[in-house]
Each structure stands twice: as structure tokens, then as C-alpha cells.
Subunit: 133 residues, 4 copies
């Protein structure tokens, strides 16, 4: 799996001192962006150079424990490969507890086009290094 | 149900001219905030005046059709009342099509406290005017 | 001048219950977007249909009084027209006091091109209705 | 001075592939937060533990060159100390060019109180290591 640390900032926090949900979602999306960059297929290149994208079709997250400014939150991302889609599963931990977890379901689609296409073989291989098995 | 119109702004859009997902999530959360204000129980008052909150425990959204800058997106919110929780269901439409839909599951919890409490009767009545039945 | 009301949301606020600065900046930018739409030259159309944009080259804001969740903040925008540029001046008031004020300096530039061009005559006329004199 | 690298993400970018201004402002504010943490006086601690804050009273930024998704932008922060205030000056560079620069003027104020107070001596010393002289 892929892992990064998100430090919650003062500007992410609410009147109770805990992170606003939309700011947590920002951190999740940033994690997917960092992962794609780490495997050599950044979001900003795949459409321009390869003519496809991985648009989000579903997101599902559970928020189990709040996080506060200054918390270092470890966010893990594990991809599960389909033929024409990929699921990014996330688990975020802080202080030994799960803070939030869930998944993004993404499809592989030709830029500006209709319908899903198969994940390119090179991309499958790049992601495979981070899958669960 | 409750309904508001969200106009997608230039600053919400990506290199393909469609709204970024985190900006859509911002619009969804803004809708819950507007709803609570509309029924007379704004998020910013319930903790200060009544000592409880409605923290999010789960969110699940499907993105069916992209939206573009200038689009007027109608976002409907329908609450479903539990004893100690409330579900906000959303359907967003644009140009006759569903753009995105899903729900937020929220629990009723005493501010700073442990465990869920029953929804106050007055709040139930205020929300009841917007439920499905 | 152009005027809109911004309602500060719970999700905009910090541990002191006042709006985070970046969320105020979001509201300012949203106001420029709403103004351009109101005069019939939305940001999302001018580049596609007329081949130019109004990129920001400077912003300067003073924050005089904090705003809280639930506050209805009146934001005024007054354009001042140059030959190849336009300045948007803002004054935001809440409860009879100035909350924040400042300006955005924007240049008129051909999309993807180099250097500034003159503001189109039709756009000047559309903005003229909102200038100070 | 203090320095950090901001990687522009896909979700920061607009239809021209360059970062939206509000997202640049997010990165600037994040930099001030990282700086305060680096010197041992994080924003989230100073009010709780020392009873003061550094609210923003003015911001002034110039945008000289656009930045794109994937760009590694070096953001430098240099504090200039006043008696009851501090100015954070920023220069952001990418690919050998200045992308944006400017400053935030902040005052030292007792939490919830009126008027400015002197910067605590320990904080002055912590910042001094990063000043220009």
C-alpha cells in the first residue's frame, strides 16, 4: 500500500478544534493525487499524454474519531484493480486509532469520451506494487 | 424536502472545465448548513444554545454526470429521522439529469460528550416538515 | 456598484468561531465571479467565446473586524476601468461595521498569449454601469 | 528564512491548467502554519497555552507567473519583527522564476481581548533565527 502523513492545520479546524469534514475530503483527494504521482502516472499527465482519466464515480467514508490541529494523520491508500475500474481504499490513523476510512471508486475512461476502457497494462503494473496481495 | 440552487463557479472547475470533486463536497456541506439555518436550528447555534451537535459519521455519494461553470445545480435535501440520528439524503440535478446523489449519516451527540442522545423533540418537528412522508 | 450577501457558514469558522482568512478569500473570489456573470461576461465564457481573460496580478486586503457563522456580510464590488486592466474594489460590511476591504488588480490578456490587450468596448460598457462616477 | 516546497495538485488547477488564486492563498496560509510549527509556536497552541494570537490585518500579493499541476513551488517566508506585530514576507519560485510574492501583516493580540500586545520575548527569539539580518 501507499502511505503519507497529513498534518492537520489550524485553518482546517472548527469551533470545537477538530477538522471540518470538507477539509478531510481535501486531504483524501490530495492523497490520491500524491499516489498517482508516486507511481509515475500523475493525474495531470494521463489525460494529456495517454488520453484517459480516472473519474470518481462513488465515494464512501466513515468518520470514526475526530482529528485536531497538529495531529499527524497517517493515510494509507490501497488500490484494488478491476478491468475497467480501480478502487482506492483508505485507512487514516492517528494516535493508534482509526480516524476515518473508506473508498473511492474510479473508472478508466477515455478523455471526453463515452464509456469505460480497460486500464492500460503499464498502469496496472505500476499499481500492482501497492495492492493487497 | 429542502431545495437550494448551487451555481458552479469558474474557481470550482478543473482542466476539463468540470467541477472538482472536493468543490462538489463543499457545496453538499453548504447545503446541510443552509438547511439547518432554514429550519431554525443552525449548526452554529445548536452547540452553544442546546449543548449538542450532529457530527457526520458516514458519507456516501455517487457522481453520475459532471457539472460545469455556470451550471445551476438544484440540490434537494431530504432528512430521515432516527431516534438518535438523522440521515440527510441528497439528489442534485442539472439540465434534467442527476448530477450526483447520496447521503450523510449524522448522529445526535452531546457537545464534548460520549455516545449518542435522542434528537430533541422540537428539532424533530422542525425537520418533519421536510421528510418524505 | 455591485452587491451580494455572503452568509458565513459553520464550515468557514475557526476555533474562535470566526471565519478563516482563506474562506474569506474564497468569498471574495466568488463575488468577482458573480459580478462577471451578472454583467453578462462570465469568466467561464470570455476565454472560450472571446479569447481573453482577466487574470489577477495583485490582491490587497485589510481585515478590520472578524465575521462569525451566521453573519450576513454585504460585499460591494466597484470596478475601476483602465485601458488594458480593471481594478475590482471591495468593501464588506456586517452589523454596521467594515469587516474587510481591498482590491484585486486584473489585466486583460489574450488567452494563452503574451502581454495585455485593451478591454473590449462592450465589456467596458457593461462594467461602466457599476463604476463610481 | 523558512522554506517549504508546495507541489501543485490537479485539484488546484483551472480550465487553463494553472492554479486557481484561492488555492494559492491556501498554500500561503499553510506555509505560515508550517512556519509557526517549525519554530515551536504552532497557531493551535499559542492561544490555548499562552493566551494570544497573531490575527491577520493585511495581506498583499502579486502574481507574476502561473503555476501548473505537478510544479514544485519553493515558498520562502521571512519574518520581520515589530513591537506588537510581525510581518511575514513571502517569495515563491518555480523553474527559476518568481511565481508570486507578497506579505501578511499580523498583530499580536490577547485572545478575545482588545488591542495589541508586545510579542513575547521567547517568540521573538524563535523568529529571530529566520529574519533577514
Amino acid at each position: 500500500m501507499y502511505e503519507r502523513t497529513w498534518t492537520v492545520r489550524f485553518s482546517d479546524t472548527d469551533p470545537f478544534g477538530i477538522a471540518h469534514y470538507p477539509r478531510i475530503v481535501d486531504a483524501i483527494h490530495e492523497t490520491s493525487d500524491m499516489f498517482m504521482e508516486a507511481i509515475g502516472w500523475p493525474f495531470w499527465e494521463i489525460s494529456q499524454e495517454y488520453g484517459f482519466g480516472l473519474p470518481l464515480v462513488e465515494m464512501n467514508f466513515e468518520f470514526e474519531n475526530p482529528v485536531e490541529a497538529g495531529d499527524d494523520v497517517t493515510i494509507e491508500l490501497t488500490p484494488t484493480l478491476g478491468n475497467r475500474s480501480v478502487k482506492f481504499e483508505y485507512v487514516a490513523r492517528c494516535g493508534g486509532k482509526v480516524a476515518f476510512s473508506g473508498y473511492e471508486q474510479r473508472v478508466c475512461a477515455r478523455t471526453g469520451g463515452e464509456g469505460a476502457i480497460e486500464l492500460p497494462e503499464d498502469l496496472r503494473e505500476a499499481m500492482d506494487a501497492y495492492t493487497d496481495d
